[in-house]
């Protein structure tokens, strides 16, 4: 056998290596030719990132339906849940965003021009018609007159005071006569808050900053302005209205719940049960009342039926001076599409699929969610979950409607609110100073963000 010289060996090796390196590209080039043909436009992989961790079981059921198969065609949808916001930002900055996302800071994305306007698609759609949706939810898909968000997945009403009727009864209170004002809630809170012999909190009446009471981020509104009845941000003028008597009163009134339970105690419970944990402490029967949206009855019965069976809901509290005001809000979620993504058009078909009764029914039964889509709401059984009926009744009984402010620095506002309210209930800052500081911080940030 002929021996290979070192030079020949290197030459053969280099040829093989070059061939191996180029082989995938050669194969891809062939595929690229095929994929340019009209028939091959099918078969793309759509990237959809909804951040909810409880979405996958419902999605698994959806993909099995005939309707989904019609909508998706020969395409494939890759759903990635629980992706951190930081990863979404990095993907956008790198020019490789997913085709669409849900449950992220929609306004941050809309205001910074990374989303694809969808007015043209919506105009041509059989599914997206303004009159089929709650007005506030439809309107919140727009930013400065351009539509970016296709309502979907979850979007029914946002506010209600949910309470565990059994815990209420055990505390000697009347579950048929729930409080309607902050004053009334405070009385219930005092009766329902329990400590052990060492002074540790074992049960809390109401954490007013949990869930919808404390969140501003994404599309969930800012509860003090809803409860006290004012607008905290003027999107047209780009001005904030936070340093006012109502915000001051809200800091004081809501902070009192923490003073009674003990700020360290609440922080301790929260580190286990989670702050803004969307019902975690309610499910654990550590908290008897919670300000939550319509999803609370369904989620609780699905996740913890032994607790969910006692759930009841009533109007979210308002100040005594506004007794009788029945506040309710729209908002909810959207599918938003990235300008730089490759397969947004087939993804829009999936957003349309989310509007079908099939998809909505799966989401309702498996997760407890309802859309902002009126035809489906009209078909839904309000008695499906204990407490849900209140939300259905509130559609006609509410006296005041709110929608999340169109503020492009909402995440920052939420963060500052959390910081400053803690300084108030820990008596480090007066409510008036906190409100003034809140206003200043928001104004400074708005300028700094370049709006």
């Amino acid at each position: 056998m002929k021996k290979l010289s070192r030079r020949e060996f290197l030459r053969v090796g280099a040829t093989v290596a070059a061939g191996a390196t180029l082989a995938p590209y050669i194969a891809q080039a062939d595929e690229a030719v095929v994929s340019n043909a009209p028939a091959a436009r099918q078969g793309v992989t759509i990237q959809y990132w909804p951040s909810w961790s409880n979405f996958p079981p419902a999605w698994e059921k959806m993909v099995e339906t005939d309707e989904y198969k019609e909508f998706v065609g020969d395409n494939t949808v890759e759903v990635k849940t629980g992706t951190p916001w930081e990863a979404v930002l990095t993907a956008i900055a790198a020019g490789t965003p997913p085709d669409a996302v849900s449950n992220y800071q929609y306004l941050d994305l809309m205001a910074r021009g990374v989303l694809r306007p969808i007015d043209d698609w919506v105009a041509a759609s059989e599914y997206f018609k303004k009159e089929l949706y709650f007005e506030g939810s439809w309107n919140d898909g727009f930013y400065q007159g351009v539509m970016y968000g296709a309502p979907g997945i979850e979007g029914f009403l946002r506010y209600g005071l949910n309470y565990n009727a059994k815990m209420v009864e055990d505390a000697g209170l009347d579950p048929d006569n729930p409080p309607q004002t902050w004053e009334g809630c405070l009385e219930w809170h005092e009766a329902l808050t329990k400590f052990d012999d060492a002074g540790n909190l074992t049960q809390m009446g109401l954490d007013p900053y949990d869930a919808m009471g404390g969140q501003i981020a994404i599309q969930d509104g800012f509860y003090p302005p809803v409860s006290w009845g004012w607008k905290w941000f003027d999107a047209d003028a780009g001005t904030f209205n936070i340093a006012n008597d109502m915000m001051i009163e809200a800091f004081d009134v809501m902070g009192e719940f923490y003073r009674i339970a003990g700020p360290d105690n609440v922080a301790g419970i929260r580190s286990v049960e989670g702050q803004g944990g969307w019902g975690g402490s309610f499910n654990a029967s550590v908290q008897a009342m919670i300000i939550e949206g319509y999803w609370h009855p369904g989620e609780t019965i699905i996740q913890k039926p032994e607790v969910g069976q006692y759930n009841r809901a009533t109007w979210a509290p308002v100040p005594t001076a506004r007794e009788g005001a029945k506040v309710q809000g729209t908002g909810g979620h959207y599918v938003v599409f990235f300008k730089d993504a490759a397969n947004t058009e087939p993804m829009f078909k999936i957003a349309e699929f989310f509007q079908t009764d099939t998809a909505c029914q799966i989401l309702f039964e498996d997760v407890g969610w309802l859309p902002a889509r009126i035809p489906f709401i009209e078909k839904t059984d309000p008695s499906a979950f204990p407490g849900l009926e209140f939300y259905f009744d509130s559609v006609t009984e509410a006296t005041e409607w709110s929608s999340p402010a169109r503020c492009p620095i909402t995440a920052y506002v939420s963060q500052q609110y959390q910081e400053l309210r803690e300084k108030v209930f820990r008596d480090e800052l007066s409510a008036a100073d906190a409100a003034a500081e809140f206003q200043t911080r928001c104004e400074d940030e708005y300028k700094m963000a370049g709006f």
Binding site: L89, R112, G199, D264, A267, G268, I409, E437
Partner: protein, 304 residues
């Protein structure tokens, strides 16, 4: 050889060969260190939110940091508090621990393994364990206190106690520094101790005049690493506070604030400026430590 055929002079040929051989590292260094370093300096002079093109601001981000009364004072105080206490205490605890584990005790290897173990536990596990151990309502430590008829302590939920608690956890996780000290202690010549014994030195004298000076270069090294780590402290407080820097901003350290400004508030330019300020502070601290080391660090091999 090909390079010879190119007619390169031996000096350049060797340089080229050297560069080719280190090119994997060199490329990585340029792409993952030099480029981010330069780009962060560039972004620190701009308003940049990752989503829109950068807008030149000059030194505004730096000025904003130094003039911000809302967050900068709190963040700087928290960080200095942590660095000034955790770095020396961490080094002292590691040194004492190494001293104890260097003695002739039964089961020494087992003890060494036990005390080193925290160093290899992932931060997320450490955070979860301590969160549950120190929780005021459900924690094992408070459960034990309650069992003894004592009042519970809100270690992590009280703003005055959260930083000391984090320092305590830091002192517990000193396995790496302890291991380095242990190796150093074993390298101290026995003859020095024997000579000291002959001279009538007691245990304290031996520790003060032999052990500490002989270990001082390693003490300096561990101290510098502890200072740098303290300034960059992120993972544990982030996990323990659930990413809030709470309670009441008491664990909002410099790196946590930087991260929140970058990724939660979309101020990548401002965060880059913060990173550069931190870099300068760390360099300054390191230089000060090195300068002071001439007075207290003993190098056996150093020229007189």
């Amino acid at each position: 050889m090909t390079l010879q055929r190119w007619g390169l002079r031996p000096k350049y040929r060797n340089l080229l060969l050297g560069l080719i051989f280190i090119s994997p590292w060199l490329i990585g260094f340029i792409v993952f260190t030099i480029y981010p370093l330069i780009s962060s300096l560039y972004y620190s002079l701009h308003r940049y939110d990752l989503l829109r093109p950068p807008v030149f601001l000059g030194l505004d981000n730096y000025i904003t940091f130094f003039t911000d009364k809302s967050h900068t004072p709190v963040v700087v105080y928290n960080t200095l508090y942590y660095v000034v206490l955790s770095a020396p205490l961490g080094v002292v605890s590691a040194f004492l621990l190494a001293g104890l584990l260097n003695t002739q005790i039964k089961g020494r290897s087992v003890f060494r393994a036990i005390f080193f173990f925290p160093a290899i536990v992932p931060a997320i596990v450490t955070a979860q364990i301590w969160r549950f151990l120190l929780n005021v309502q459900y924690g094992a430590v408070n459960g034990a206190l309650q069992g003894l008829g004592l009042s519970t302590i809100p270690f992590l939920s009280n703003p005055d106690l959260s930083k000391p608690s984090l320092i305590l956890i830091h002192m517990w996780a000193q396995g790496n520094a302890m291991l380095i000290f242990l190796a150093t202690l074993q390298d101290v010549p026995r003859s020095l101790y024997e000579a000291a014994t002959v001279d009538g030195a007691n245990g304290w004298h031996k520790f003060r005049y032999i052990t500490i000076p002989m270990c001082s270069p390693v003490i300096l090294f561990n101290l510098i690493m502890a200072f740098i780590g303290g300034f960059q402290n992120f993972t544990l407080p982030w996990l323990i506070s659930g990413g809030t820097g709470g309670p009441n901003q008491s664990t909002e350290f410099y790196s946590i604030h930087l991260y929140r400004r970058a990724f939660q508030n979309l101020h990548m330019g401002y965060a880059s400026a913060m990173a550069w300020i931190l870099f300068v502070v760390i360099v300054a601290f390191t230089v000060i430590l090195f300068r002071s080391s001439g007075r207290w660090v003993y190098y056996g091999g150093a020229a007189e």
